[in-house]
């Protein structure tokens, strides 16, 4: 078990290191970091200080080492737009994205998993086809267009919901629905196929033969076994959700990390972009690691296999 965790942990660390290294390479190949990261009206002292802090007068290997240390200790420098610490700016935005993301995730799971189970139980019926069409639609409908359709319908036509910004709990409904519904489709599709795999197994028939009720078979016997691939996909979907948040936050003018990233890319506020990329990547790596570890808990076979 320990070995299993250590291997996973090592792999996560390597991925993180790769991310930091790629950003370093991109930063260096795209031009002079002084020009990229400092405002054009920076004073000579500021430039000197910056060169000192990032070790720009040293050999490249030393610069790299310094860079890794700076990134690891959370020293991302200042935003070029308003001169504040990058960490402060990001810290203001994180709660909003967390709030939106968790709400959307709840929508996706509470809708996607039951729908997937329902589709699997009612396989090849009208209900199944309806749910699966919904899933395909969710995949093909771009979230930015879905968001706009929601705004047209609920804000402009029915005048029920606010179209952008924050303030009341009503503001979160449309962004969360946009993000959540598109993810719910993929989740429903996966839950269905995982359930179908499990429902065909002999132990389900055995459970039926010994008199376990239908609900008992689904909930106690099938679902725990189908949970493994579903949890993986939920973990993978976190990436899609974060990617989606970048777009959806912009559509609804939601003051989160995604919108900050887009506006920083437009204005080429590279210190902020760099910090955000590393932060989002780190989140993804931690999420993948959690999924891997959860795996071991959900499926004892994986733990055993990793010992060999």
């Amino acid at each position: 078990m320990l070995r299993f965790w250590l291997v996973k942990l090592l792999r996560a660390t390597v991925t993180l290191w790769l991310v930091v290294t790629s950003v370093f390479i991109v930063l260096r190949t795209s031009g002079d970091p002084v020009q990229s990261l400092l405002p054009p009206d920076a004073t000579i002292e500021e430039i000197e200080q910056f060169r000192e802090a990032w070790g720009l007068d040293r050999p490249l290997t030393e610069q790299y080492a310094k860079y890794v240390v700076n990134m690891a200790t959370g020293d991302f420098g200042k935003s070029y737009r308003d001169g504040r610490q990058v960490t402060t700016i990001i810290a203001e935005r994180v709660p909003w994205t967390l709030f939106l993301g968790l709400t959307a995730y709840a929508v996706a799971v509470l809708l996607g998993v039951p729908l997937g189970i329902l589709a699997a139980i009612r396989r090849n019926t009208f209900v199944d086809r309806l749910i699966m069409s919904f899933a395909v639609f969710g995949f093909a409908l771009p979230n930015f267009f879905f968001g706009i359709l929601l705004i047209l319908l609920f804000s402009l036509n029915l005048r029920m919901l606010p179209s952008s910004g924050t303030g009341t709990w009503m503001h979160v409904i449309m962004p969360a629905a946009t993000l959540g519904l598109t993810t719910a489709g993929a989740l429903a599709r996966f839950t269905r196929s995982a359930m179908l795999d499990v429902l065909g197994k002999v132990y389900i028939r055995a459970a039926a033969a010994k008199g376990v009720s239908f609900a008992g078979r689904i909930l106690r016997h099938a679902l725990p076994n189908a949970a493994i691939p579903v949890v993986t996909v939920m973990g993978l979907n976190l990436g899609a959700l974060l990617g989606g948040a970048i777009v959806v936050e912009t559509v609804f003018a939601w003051p989160g990390v995604g919108r900050l990233l887009v506006s920083s890319v437009s204005s080429r506020d590279l210190a902020v972009v760099q910090a955000l990329v590393l932060m989002i990547a780190a989140t993804m790596v931690v999420a993948n690691l959690t999924v891997d570890l959860l795996y071991g808990v959900l499926d004892p076979r994986i733990r055993v296999a990793s010992k060999d």
Binding site: V14, T15, L18, V19, V23, V26, L27, S30, G31, S36, V136, F137, F139, A140, L141, P142, F144, F145, I148, L149, I151, L152, L156, S163, R189, F190, R192, S193, G239, A240, L242, G243, I246, V247, T250, V251, L261, V262, S264, V265, S266, R268, L270, V273, V277, I280, A281, M284, V285, N288
Partner: protein, 278 residues
């Protein structure tokens, strides 16, 4: 061969229609996508009581929506096709390289594959756009970078299993060079799996392009793409919904059709994949 289901037929017809419009659609509009008519700004579609000269209405500068949509569609389709081809070539090549050399070459390529697969691609795209600035060349390369890892992984896997097959060993025993073995004998055998991957990848690239252009970070004016028109229309939802709704609908129907055709093609070409991938 079984007759394809109705939905697949409709999807195919729609795709053919979209491609035809992308190629020759400009004959339907006497205007260029940049022609402005400031006296006819934000006119609704002609069938909804707008100006009879503008079938689908006009935008904030009085530009004909038909002309803009045709041009935007052409740009979106072109970028997506170039991106898909680029990504497929790049990925397939690296897949072959990984399978041929094994050892550290393979390890390195697969590490990069895992690395890219672990991040949402839009993040990588935004980073590169931020640091290198926007240009059409970089943008198309970005489209190519999206999804190459799937081809590489697929090709490597299939080549590794094909290489031990009797036919591959026979060709090798006859003295064929590795290049000939891969291109003439193994590639045709993995083609169907790669085509399936292609159809899955294409709609994703369309969505990526439209999303980035929607955010104002993709195709730049005066050129335009479906996503960019949609992004433009976002600011005029309250008085000119058509600017956003037309391009959005075209994007949606195109990616939907591609997915339907891709799914059908997958089931048809590779029945063994059917169970694994659902």
């Amino acid at each position: 061969m079984r007759r394809p289901p109705l939905t697949v037929l409709i999807a195919l017809i729609f795709l053919a229609f979209v491609i035809a419009i992308a190629i020759v659609g400009n004959v339907f509009s006497p205007y260029a996508h940049t022609d402005q008519n400031l006296l006819a700004r934000l006119k609704p579609p002609s069938f909804l009581g707008g100006d009879p000269r503008y079938l689908l209405g006009t935008d904030r500068l009085g530009r004909d929506m038909v002309a803009r949509l045709v041009f935007g569609l052409r740009m979106s389709v072109m970028v997506a096709i170039m991106g898909t081809v680029l990504g497929a070539l790049f990925g397939i090549m690296l897949g072959f390289v990984a399978a041929h050399f094994r050892g550290w070459v393979e390890e390195t390529i697969m590490a990069v594959v895992d690395f890219q697969a672990s991040l949402p691609f839009i993040l990588i795209a935004l980073t590169l756009l931020a640091f290198f600035g926007n240009s059409l060349t970089l943008f198309i390369i970005l489209m190519g970078l999206h999804g190459w890892e799937n081809y590489a992984r697929l090709t490597r896997g299939v080549v590794l299993s094909a290489i031990s097959q009797p036919y591959a060993q026979a060709v090798r025993a006859l003295g064929a060079s590795p290049l000939r073995l891969y291109s003439r004998h193994i590639l045709p055998n993995v083609a169907s799996a790669l085509i399936v991957q292609l159809t899955l990848n294409f709609p994703q690239i369309v969505l990526l392009e439209t999303a980035l252009s929607f955010l104002g970070l993709g195709i730049q004016p005066p050129s335009t793409s479906l996503g960019q028109i949609l992004g433009d229309g976002r600011d005029y939802l309250s008085n000119a919904w058509w600017i956003a709704v037309w391009p959005g609908t075209i994007i949606f129907l195109t990616t939907l059709s591609m997915s339907i055709v891709g799914d059908a093609l997958r089931d048809y070409l590779d029945p063994t994949l059917k169970r694994q991938r659902t």
